[in-house]
């Protein structure tokens, strides 16, 4: 069994309440931080831990914190990004549902480290049940003196509020989130200035993902060095992986970074293999925005070595043969799934979610959706594949925020690795409406049920 830092007590009855959470050692990090550490020392521990942002970009959290501007007499804010809307990602919702106090404890310690006196948790509006859970947990914490004025008699004051979104994937982008929190449309801002200089209400602001903030708790409890001992290379610690698609046991798993992908998919400790005795065709390893990989490149690097669940190993080979850790949304496709259909679905998603500020994204995502719809429904021509390639290239890198890239990469990677499946839809307009393309050679080396050694 691998070590669990975030989900260790997930099955303890009543762990969503303050009392049980306390019995299991909860709020020790707040006591330690507020009573024995200075804000600078906390930032130093987080730096030592090597923690990288869990929201998608993987930016080192300690470094981000040290960039926060601290002008005299100006408020500073910590805003937790709980907008979780990246298709394939559902770990934050899970954590907030079952262990809300883990996030609240992390928010108190992190707010103290950053000198924030008011902090917000921006939760996507659809998560009303989770909003109610968090508000109840905050009320409990406040009644017990963990929030409010003069916490633990240290003179530190903190108010924590939950802010609902209105339904918009783009509000997960941190500057769109800040716009939304100011009561506006979620249009991403042009950077610079970065939020660390001018964020919420123009004040210095740190935006962090739910999981990043929750990870600060074990880092403070055990020390940054202990945390950094887990994992591999620059991928330290544990990571929540949301596993979905055609798996025997989809769900949220906490892994030690560096776990072989094959073990994650096939071992009974994790996903338990592909559902219904089928074979793996492809995966999207880090949420819908990252490149799709065929089964063979999912399990092994181009040089034949096993691929690991780490930031470095997942991106090994660049976009030619690799992908990205992203938000840790691991989507598995079995042999009966259609890559063209899924790519069309994702393009529809990005078109729907584009905020519309930049033409390459607003128009390009719509074009990609239309062309993919045409191919998927048996009306495509060979030029359409080249057209798609051309559109995605013109979006990538030419937009205000990374949603444009996120829309381009799934299309580019699908064509790169599954071009023959696109061409088959075009050459076989009738057949492709009745059956699926199947596995083809890229999954051939993979046996029905690879044997994995238990650790």
């Amino acid at each position: 069994m691998s070590r669990k830092l975030l989900l260790e007590h997930i099955n303890v009855p009543g762990i969503n309440t303050l009392d049980v959470y306390r019995q299991k050692g909860g709020y020790r990090a707040v006591e330690k931080a507020l009573k024995t550490l200075t804000p600078e020392e906390i930032v130093e521990e987080v730096k030592k831990s090597g923690l990288r942002g869990r929201g998608g970009a993987g930016f080192p959290t300690g470094m981000k914190w040290s960039f926060l501007a601290k002008p005299e007499g100006v408020a500073r804010y910590l805003v937790c990004n709980a907008d979780e809307s990246e298709p394939g990602t559902f770990k934050d919702r899970y954590l907030m549902t079952y262990i809300p106090h883990a996030l609240i404890e992390g928010m108190i310690v992190s707010s103290f480290a950053l000198g924030a006196k008011v902090s917000y948790i921006y939760v996507r509006g659809e998560m009303m049940p989770q909003i109610r859970i968090l508000e109840k947990a905050i009320a409990e914490a406040k009644a017990a003196g963990w929030l409010g004025k003069n916490i633990l008699g240290t003179g530190y004051d903190l108010e924590l509020y939950v802010q609902p979104g209105g339904g918009a994937y783009i509000c997960g982008e941190e500057t769109a989130l800040l716009e939304s929190l100011e009561g506006k449309r979620g249009n991403p801002r042009i950077k610079p200035p970065f939020p660390a200089i001018a964020g919420l209400y123009g004040c210095p602001t740190v935006v962090n993902n739910v999981e990043s903030i929750a990870a600060v708790v074990p880092i403070i409890n055990d020390g940054g060095e202990e945390y950094a001992k887990i994992g591999i290379g620059r991928s330290t610690g544990t990571k929540l992986i949301s596993a979905s698609g055609n798996l025997v046991k989809p769900g949220v798993y906490e892994i030690e970074l560096g776990l072989p992908v094959e073990e994650f998919i096939y071992s009974d400790e994790y996903c338990g293999g592909i559902a219904n005795g089928k074979r793996l065709k492809a995966t999207v390893a880090g949420g819908s925005s990252v490149p799709v990989l065929p089964a063979n490149l999912t399990l092994k690097l181009a040089n034949g070595e096993p691929r690991l669940m780490s930031y470095e190993s997942l991106s090994e080979g660049g976009f030619a043969t690799g992908t990205m850790m992203g938000s840790g949304g691991f989507i598995a496709f079995d042999e009966d799934q259609c890559i063209v259909r899924n790519t069309w679905n994702f393009s529809r998603f990005y078109h729907h979610e584009s905020c519309g500020q930049c033409s390459p994204c607003r128009e390009g995502t719509g074009w990609m959706e239309k062309v993919l719809h045409k191919i998927e429904h048996g009306h495509g021509s060979m030029e359409d594949v080249d057209l798609l390639w051309d559109i995605q290239r013109k979006i990538e890198g030419n937009t205000i925020c990374p949603l444009g890239d996120a829309a381009a990469w799934p299309v580019a990677s699908a064509i790169r690795h599954f071009r023959d499946e696109f061409e088959w839809h075009i050459k076989e307009p009738v057949k492709s409406q009745q059956q699926n393309y199947g596995l083809a050679y890229y999954a051939n080396p993979i046996e029905k049920a690879p044997v994995t050694e238990e650790k």
């Binding site: 809307s85 559902f90 934050d92 659809e126 209105g166 339904g167 949304g329």
Partner: protein
Amino acid sequence: MLKVEEQTPVVFSSELLAKFDDVKSRYPEGKHKSALLPLLHLVQAEYLWVSTHAMDRVAEYLNIQPIEVYEVATFYTMYFLKPQGKYALEVCRTGPCCLVGAEKILDHLESKLGVKEGEVTADGLFSFRGVECLAACGFGPVLQISPDYTFYENLTTESVDKLIEDLKNK
């Protein structure tokens, strides 16, 4: 998109206004516009949709221009700009859920309820639509029901039938 229709004037109850005040107190002096999204949710929970009249009253309450409310209400997908069924069913239609049968659930709802996406059943009870990833992809197919966003996972056509019967009998 935003059409000014014949609508009944709206007067917010004192209970609702008390909730507004509570939300407004969460933001620093002068930054009360931040309350806009939460306020629109409160309005929708009360009236099941957000009419232009209601938006105008929200604008007055926050002391901002009506257009500032309209532009927000039309940007976000959760605000209903026309009346829905008493139970508005929202099924996730994004990739991962489609791998496990979300499209079948949407088709089934259409034939079961006898209305198209976005329409309301004759008895006023139901409407449905496809929405994007609801952050529950491992438990798909999933649907949520506004206004309180109760959540249902691992749907089958049978469980959807049962859910609809239960709601009818409520």
